[in-house]
Amino acid sequence: MQQTGHVYLVGAGPGDPELLTIKAARLLDRADAVVFDRLVSDEILDLINPAARRIFVGKETGCHSLRQEDINALLVATARQHQHIVRLKGGDPYIFGRGGEEALFLAQNGIPFEVVPGITAAAGCMAQLNLPLTHRGLATSVRFITGHMQSDAEPAHDWRSLADPDTTLAIYMGVRTMPVIAARLMENGLSGATPAIIIENGSTPEQRHHRTTLSRICADLDRLNFDPPCMIVIGRVVGLIDHLPVPVIQAPNSAFKRAPQNDYAHAHTA
């Protein structure tokens, strides 16, 4: 019987290494193999045990480095070669991270695993701007929704229920599909004047944000050249930015030392 390692499905949070959980930092330090995404910041990669094997399986819209099935197979193969494998994902592995699919595949193949949550982009990006996601009198709920769509199909959402002024909409991967999302929300009655914010490279030193409205958000994404990864939040809570100080983003904490340069070993699956 072949001995297998233990896989940790770890959330890296929104980018700032200080927003990593203590458990995640400890696991990275002890890892002997780390499989990571494009959305993991360099500062967090610097925390990986320098002796660990690093496998980059990054994804970018339109140019997938590896298909999900290949990543699943790679995780199983890696677990058969290493003892302590960290599968590191941006944000939270179980919110639009496809961590559930990897967990199912690991379970089917008898690989022991554990999930370590991370701060999801909606929470991390909004907190960076001192903005809440829910607020008495402004939003009684928050919806995490994906803007990603398969080829030319529309995101399959219940637009009527999303077009609710009492709900905060936190849209992941929505830069490209925003014209459809904005049109459907307005057609279903959400006011074009509803506050909205675009947050690019959330919680990293490269973060930039732009406050706008639902009716103008598409024009702003275009005019101001926002690129993925962006978090888009629509809802009355965004209007609180006028009443709260916007913190200046600090460079990453110097206590985190920079490790030797990543080798970015590109993964090959057997």
Binding site: P179, G192, R216, C218, A219
Partner: protein, 390 residues
């Protein structure tokens, strides 16, 4: 390194093939946005004669021409400023002058190139021969230290540049007629909230800035700067908010025909008709989608309109006399830009999703050329060399 060597060798070969003397007035450049390339089109022979790689991030890129029409100055989004020799198909100079830029201009005597910057904000001015910086205009917000994003940078008669400050709601004139390194700056404050783009009338007299943060536009009469900035078209931008605004219309595309200007409405399926004597709206023409560019044919008889997503497969043609739509064509998905040949015998357009640059006879609407190019966007005829504001 190896790639650079190979490209260099190709450029030398390309240069060798064009030893025959020729003019540039029938040449055009086209931005290939996705691949960071610029295509050079010979509009007489209707062929793509070169594709120049290595120009960086060209989303929202634009081009101006040297006074002699030989060099194209390409303004990239990433702050890159590249001088392309369209006769020998070589890069004659390239600098990275800022982190994020939005267009530029060449002054009246052709000696200065100015670039409008987002990050860091302000305007940087370069010698058009050497691309060495001669002036850095920081566009400070108040007394600083923050710099404003600069938009709507144009050249104006008298070796002036005119531009707008997004963050502080100002129009500024930088007059280089006295000094090449230390321009006289005139500041117009409180011109409106968040100017986002601007145009200058073809005669160089009127500078008009669109406002993102409020309705209406800001007008500066450059014959009479002492009269200050006035507000025109108080309803411009006011929508019924049934539809999102997919793209802010390009103001450079304002078509002036006779004493009328044809203006893309913001977020509505209309082209506005403006009387240029008093800048009052005198009519609205319903169109197929949200207009982006509204271009007058050089003979001013027809006005050509393209549209924002999701209607960007269509071009409509308006009769400037009757103000009705007389033609509609569907060149393909993603018609991003169009440009007439200088005397109007051809119209060229970029069809991004089909990776084609198409040309039509604007009188018969017959297709006359179809040239492949990767994700084409802006098209710039070299005849712009002789036009103020372009």
């Amino acid at each position: 390194m190896k790639t650079a060597f190979v490209l260099g060798a190709l450029a030398i070969l390309a240069g060798c093939t064009s030893l025959e003397p020729r003019g540039t007035h029938d040449l055009a450049t086209v931005i290939a946005r996705a691949s960071g390339e610029v295509g050079i089109i010979d509009t007489s022979n209707r062929e793509m004669i070169a594709v120049i790689p290595g120009l960086g991030d060209l989303s929202h890129a634009s081009i101006v021409y040297s006074r002699d029409g030989r060099y194209a100055f390409v303004f990239g989004r990433d702050g890159g400023l590249t001088k392309v020799d369209i006769l020998t198909h070589r890069i004659a100079g390239r600098i990275l002058q800022a982190g994020n830029s939005i267009g530029g201009a060449i002054n009246q005597d052709g000696s200065l190139i100015a670039v409008a910057n987002y990050e860091p904000g302000g305007v940087r001015v370069f010698d058009s021969q050497t691309l060495k910086m001669v002036a850095d205009l920081p566009a400070l917000i108040g007394h600083g230290p923050d710099r404003s994003k600069v938009v709507g940078l144009v050249d104006a008669p008298g070796n002036r540049f005119v531009y707008s400050l997004w963050d502080s709601g100002e129009i500024r004139i930088a007059d280089f007629s006295r000094s090449r390194t230390d321009p006289d700056i005139t500041v117009f404050e409180n011109i409106g909230i968040q100017p986002y783009d601007a145009l200058i009338s073809p005669d160089g007299r009127y500078y008009i800035a669109g406002l993102f943060g409020e309705d209406g536009m800001a007008l500066l009469d450059l014959w009479h700067p002492e009269r200050g900035v006035t507000r025109i078209l108080p309803d411009y931008g006011k929508g019924e908010e049934r539809l999102p605004v997919y793209k802010m219309p390009h103001l450079e595309g304002w078509a002036m025909a006779g004493d009328r200007a044809f203006v893309p409405a913001v977020g509505r399926h209309e082209v506005l008709v403006i009387d240029t004597h008093n800048w009052a709206e005198i009519g609205r023409i319903p169109v197929h989608g949200q207009p982006v560019f509204v271009m007058a044919h050089p003979d001013q008889r027809t006005i050509w309109v393209n549209f924002a997503v999701p209607d960007y497969d269509t071009i409509q043609v308006i009769d400037s006399e009757t103000m009705t739509i007389i033609h509609e064509i569907k060149p393909g998905k993603g018609v991003l830009h169009m440009e007439f040949s200088p005397r109007g015998d051809q119209i060229w357009m970029s069809v991004r999703d089909d990776n084609q640059v198409l040309a039509f006879d604007p009188y018969t609407l017959a297709p006359i050329a179809s040239l492949p190019l990767n994700s084409p966007s802006g098209i710039f005829m070299s005849a712009r060399a002789g036009q103020t504001g372009l």
